[in-house]
Each structure stands twice: as C-alpha cells, then as structure tokens.
C-alpha cells in the first residue's frame, strides 16, 4: 500500500517539472507566419501581384530539414514571395497527396524536396503538364521531365572532398574508419563511393579498416564508434556521413581517451560542428551540404515565374541544374561560413 503514495508524490514533482519545461519552451522564438505578412509589397510580380510559391518538404524531424523549411520561409519573406508551405509527412504517399492539394491551390511555381525522388516523380510531372514549373531540391526526381530546375548538394562530392582532406592530413598512410548514414539510400551510397574512389590515389596507403552505418543518429554514432574503438587498436581518422551523428562518435573517442590518436570529419555543416572545428583538435573538418539551398530554390522559383534569368549570367533563363559544391570547412576558413551553420 505504500507504493501508490510514493507515486502520487512523483506525479506532483513531475507536474512541477512540466510547468517549468513548458515555460522554457514558450520562451523559444515562434516560427514567423511569413505567408500572410508579405503579400502586398511585391511590385514587379506576375501581372502585378506577388508570386505564389507552394513548398513541400518531408516533416522537419531533425536539424537539417528544419533549416530547410526555415530558410525557405526567410527567403520568401525577404523577396516578398507569397509562400504556401506544407510539411509534416515522412512517407512518400502522404507527400503525394500533399502536393496534389498544393496544385489545386494554383501556385505560380511548385518547390518540392521529395521524401524519395522516385515515388514523387509522377505527381511532379502532372504539375509540369498543368503548366506549373517545378523546382526540385536535393533528392532528384527520376525523370528530367518532372522538374524545370534541380538544385542540390553533391553527395559524391562530400565523399571525394573528405577523401582529399583525410589523405592530405595523413600523407597517404593510415587507418580510417567510416561511420555511414542510413544503409541503402542514395545519400549514404554516394558519400561512401566518393570516399572510396577518393582514397584510391594513395594506392592502398589509406585503409578503411571498418565501416558501419549509424543511421545519422547521435546515439547510434556513439555505440558504433565505441565498438570500433574496441576492435581497432590503431585509428588515424574517422570519416562520418553527418555532423549530428559525428557528435556521438566524438563522445566515444573522448571517453576512451584516444583523442590524440585520431581526428574526425563530419558532413553537412551544423553550428555545433563548426564551433568544434573553430576550437581545433579532434574535430578537424566538415563538408557543406547546406540547407541554404531551399532559400535559393525559392529565389529561383520567383525568377522562373517572372521569366527572368540569373542576372550574372548571359543566358535569359534559369539553368536547369544547379549543383552546390561540398565546400571543405576547416579551422582556416570556418569563420567565413559560420553564418551558414544550422
């Protein structure tokens, strides 16, 4: 009979905690409702009104996707674009119906970051046929007829740039372990392939002694790294596919007191990673895969709707493919790109 009373006490304590937590949460900045506020201030839009851009992306359940939607909102507000933003589904079928309802709102341009390129291709083609140009971000549709313009990062380039950096640092001699993202998706495969291709120039001097996926998750990164540290007595560098996941690996290396033996690289360009790079030491580099691309996509959407090209180029139209370089961020240049951190 004593147990329930203890529990009642526990509930009371927890209720206090909850109040504290929600207060804290409310203090955090609210998302701006960009959609309504900026409608009137667009002079040169499509026949005098603001350009209407519909935006669809998977549910923002981690830092990178959250930055994608945030950047799209911010850019739309700055450009005076009327942005209809829908997010929230993490399955392709859900996103298809989401895009269908966006099409029915008759936007001037549709911007899509598909959950998976293949399954979203037919609906994007339908939009194109209905005369709504599609800007495709990041994961590419399976047919070029499904988009007017594609803009994205270079996953193969991340692997290649990481290989260049690591082989230079190690002077083509040493053991590397690789912590991959989710197994079996193109992002992981390309980041892996770019790396294995890149280290070939050392003719076997750089060996990948272990390679395991940790699903882009920090807690799995920690576990996988811990076990690799057990299995490998000499590691010179750790190549990871993601900054968040690399944070878990960093903790494992620190706990094993092997920080001096090796260094680690990330990918993406998160704020935390850039801070560690600026400090110097274990975390030596990351390679940009920047969510700023969604801001650029909104800006491209506006140009397409207005039938304009990129002002710096001679051609009168927006290019059909824009691939962003996987910029190598090290201690030397981190200050210049820190504002892009997410």
């Amino acid at each position: 009979m004593r147990l329930p009373r203890i529990l009642v006490l526990g509930v009371a304590l927890a209720a206090v905690t909850l109040t504290a937590c929600t207060n804290e949460a409310q203090q955090q900045p609210q998302q701006p409702a960009a959609q309504q506020s900026s409608q009137a201030q667009q002079p040169g839009g499509v026949s005098g009104r603001a350009v209407k851009v519909a935006f669809s992306a998977p549910g923002a359940d981690h830092g990178w996707l959250k930055a994608i939607t945030d950047n799209a909102r911010k850019e739309a507000e700055e450009l005076g674009v009327d942005l209809v933003l829908s997010e929230g589904t993490n399955d392709s079928a859900g996103q298809v119906s989401q895009v269908e309802s966006l099409i029915s709102q008759k936007p001037d341009v549709l911007v899509i970051l598909p959950n998976e390129g293949g399954p979203l291709t037919p609906i994007a083609q339908k939009a194109m046929q209905a005369g709504i140009p599609v800007v495709n971000i990041d994961r590419e549709f399976s047919s070029p007829t499904a988009y007017r313009t594609w803009i994205g990062g270079d996953n193969y380039g991340i692997g290649k740039a990481a290989a260049d950096f690591i082989t230079n640092e190690l002077k083509c001699q040493g053991n590397v372990v690789e912590i991959q993202g989710v197994a079996g998706i193109s992002v992981t495969e390309l980041r892996s392939k770019g790396f294995t291709d890149g280290i070939k120039r050392c003719n076997g001097g750089i060996k990948i002694v272990a390679s395991q996926p940790a699903d882009f998750l920090p807690d799995k990164g920690l576990q996988v790294m811990e076990t690799m540290l057990q299995g490998q007595k000499k590691i010179d560098a750790v190549y990871t596919h993601d900054d968040d996941m690399a944070m878990g690996a960093v903790q494992a290396i620190k706990a094993a007191n092997r920080e001096d033996e090796m260094f680690i690289t990330g990918a993406g360009g998160s704020k935390d990673a850039m801070n560690l790079i600026a400090q110097g030491g274990l975390y030596r580099a990351t390679f940009l895969y920047n969510p700023s691309m969604s801001g650029s996509a909104v800006s491209l959407a506006k140009l397409i709707a207005e039938h304009k090209g990129l002002s710096e180029l001679v051609e009168p139209e927006v290019p059909s493919r824009i691939e962003l370089p996987a910029t190598t961020v090290t201690k030397e240049n981190v200050a210049a790109v820190q504002n892009l951190g997410y």
């Binding site: 937590c21 197994a183 920090p218 576990q223």
Partner: protein
C-alpha cells in the same frame, strides 16, 4: 530409482523433460556467442574492456527492459519508451542552465509523468495498452521535437551529468553499474515483494486477482509509472554519454526492449515474468551487436541474426 526397469529411450526423454530448457536457452546462447567471439577475434573480444563496453551499451535499453518486464507481466505493453526517452532528455535539457541535478530532476520527473499518463489512460481511461502507449509514442516524440525546437541541446557544461554517462567507479563504467543495480532492484521487487506477486497475479488472471483482494487498476498504473521511472534513469545516462540532449534519440528502443523481455522468457500474455531472463536477453542482443560490429558485418546481417535468434529462443521456450 527406476532406471533399471524403464527402457533407455524413455529414460532419456524423462530426464530431458526435467532439464529446465527455458532457463538454459539464453545462457547457452550467450556462452556460444562468447566462444564464437573468442575464435573469430582473439585478443579483442574477450577482454574486460570489451565486455564492460557491451554492458555499458546494453545499459540504456536494459534499464528500460527491466521496467518493461513488469508491464508485460501484467499482460500489457509499452510502445512509448523510445519516444519518452527522447522527451525526458529534452525536458532535462531545458533545465540544463540550472545544473546537473536539475537536469536529472527534469528528466526523471518528465518520464515519470508520461508513464503515469500511460497508466491513467489504461486504468482510468480504459484504453487498451497497445493503443494508449502507441498514442504516447507519437505524443512524446512530438513533445521532444517541439520543446527542443528540433535542435539538440548541448550539455557540455554539466560535468556531474557527464560523470554519470562516461565516468568509472573502480574501473567499471557508471552506466553498467546502474544497469546492474536496477536489475537487482527489479529482481527483488518482482520476486520478494507483494507488489511483484500482484503484478504477476494480475497478468495471470485478473478476475481471480480481484477476488483475492488485489486492486488490478492500482497495480497496472504502478507498472507503467515504474517503466517511466526506468526511462528517466536511462535518459540521464544517455544524455551524459552524449553530452547533449537530442530529440531524435531512442529510435525503436521499444522494440529492442520488448524483444529482450520476450527472449528472456517473460510471457507476452502476462502472468509469467523473469528479470534474470530479461537481463540475459539484453546481454544477448548486446553481444550480437558487438560481435557483428567487430567483424564489420553489414547491418542487414545484424537484423537477420537478431530476428532468427528471437524466433529460435521463443520457440524453444514454448516447447512444452
């Protein structure tokens, strides 16, 4: 003895029947895994360092699995533990500026609160456990993402908390010690207290338990609250290990915990539970992860091995 008069085949069968197969399956599997490990990676696998590493890695899921054993003993299920783990980490993280102890208070308090809500939904709301905790799974993950604004919270300043995550006492990592302590406490609670007997009685036959003077609602509420408490402890260890509170941690931990409880010998239908079995179940999965990882096996092989093992272990236990 009747050895002389009975035919030898019958004798062997009779003797085999006396062997407690159910309790021996997992220890045999564990010994087999260790032997395989020693053969394949000599000098790496069977070191105290690596075995402590296995115990430490198993601790996060293991502590949750101890709580889950009680839930399953009553014939219930808790699908929400992975999401509640993330929510507890974030709840603590929001109090991080007040120091390590406030973090722990926040994490345990919030996990306990969500566990109590599970308990209330099931007893007072009369929602079946599968649905009630499925709802909590999505609620808690949503809370974790919303409260953190989808961004991890750095806990690098909280040294006491990191001590809990990656410190050592007499050479043994703290999470491993906490896991063993929780397992012992769980064993005592299940086998040596009225609460444990009541949990099993409620799972075995609820009407009979009621006639015997037990109030099933109270017991059921308590096991979900207890699981919440266990999740809170895990949240502290995990955040300490990661030196950050992230809203995406704990993915599919519920399935690992349930699988460990079930291969340990606790019946999903309730009425039969073993904390020792759960402990061995968690260790078995920990060893498999460790071994396949040391061998640099692709992740899909890990999934297949784990699934086949669940099938074999449970099939052997259900033989008679």
């Amino acid at each position: 003895m009747a050895v002389d008069t009975t035919p030898p085949t019958v004798d062997v069968r009779a003797r085999l029947r006396q062997v407690p197969v159910q309790e021996l399956v997992l220890p045999i599997v564990i010994i087999a895994l260790i032997i395989v490990g020693v053969i394949i990676r000599p000098g790496v696998f069977l070191t105290s360092d690596n075995l402590l590493n296995v115990l430490t890695q198993a601790s996060i899921t293991g502590i949750i699995a101890i709580g889950m054993t009680f839930v399953i003993a009553t014939g219930g299920i808790d699908l929400s533990v992975g999401s509640v783990l993330a929510a507890a980490c974030i709840a603590g993280g929001l109090l991080a500026e007040y120091g390590s102890w406030m973090f722990m208070f926040g994490a345990i308090g919030f996990a306990l609160l969500l566990g109590c809500i599970n308990g209330l939904a099931i007893t007072w709301g009369k929602v079946v456990p599968f649905i009630a905790t499925l709802a909590m799974l999505t609620i808690a993950r949503g809370l974790a993402l919303w409260m953190s604004d989808k961004t991890p919270i750095s806990l690098i300043e909280l040294e006491i908390l990191q001590g809990f995550g990656s410190g050592r006492v007499l050479g043994v990592p703290v999470p491993a010690l906490v896991f063993v302590a929780v397992a012992i406490a769980g064993w005592v609670l299940l086998n040596r207290t009225t609460f444990g007997r009541r949990a099993i009685a409620v799972g075995g036959n609820r009407s009979a338990a009621r006639i015997a003077g037990i109030r099933p609602g109270r017991v059921i509420f308590a096991v979900y609250a207890l699981t919440g408490l266990c999740v809170g402890i895990s949240a502290i260890l995990l955040s300490g290990r990661l030196a950050s509170a992230s809203p995406v941690v704990g993915n599919l931990v519920e399935l690992d915990a349930i699988a460990a409880v079930v291969i340990g010998g606790t019946a999903l239908t309730g009425g039969k539970a073993t904390v020792t079995g759960t402990f061995f179940g968690v260790i078995t999965f920990g060893l498999i992860f460790n071994l396949l990882n040391l061998l640099n096996m692709p992740t899909e092989i890990q999934g297949i091995v784990k699934g086949v093992l669940i099938l074999i272990a449970v099939a052997l236990q259900r033989r008679d």
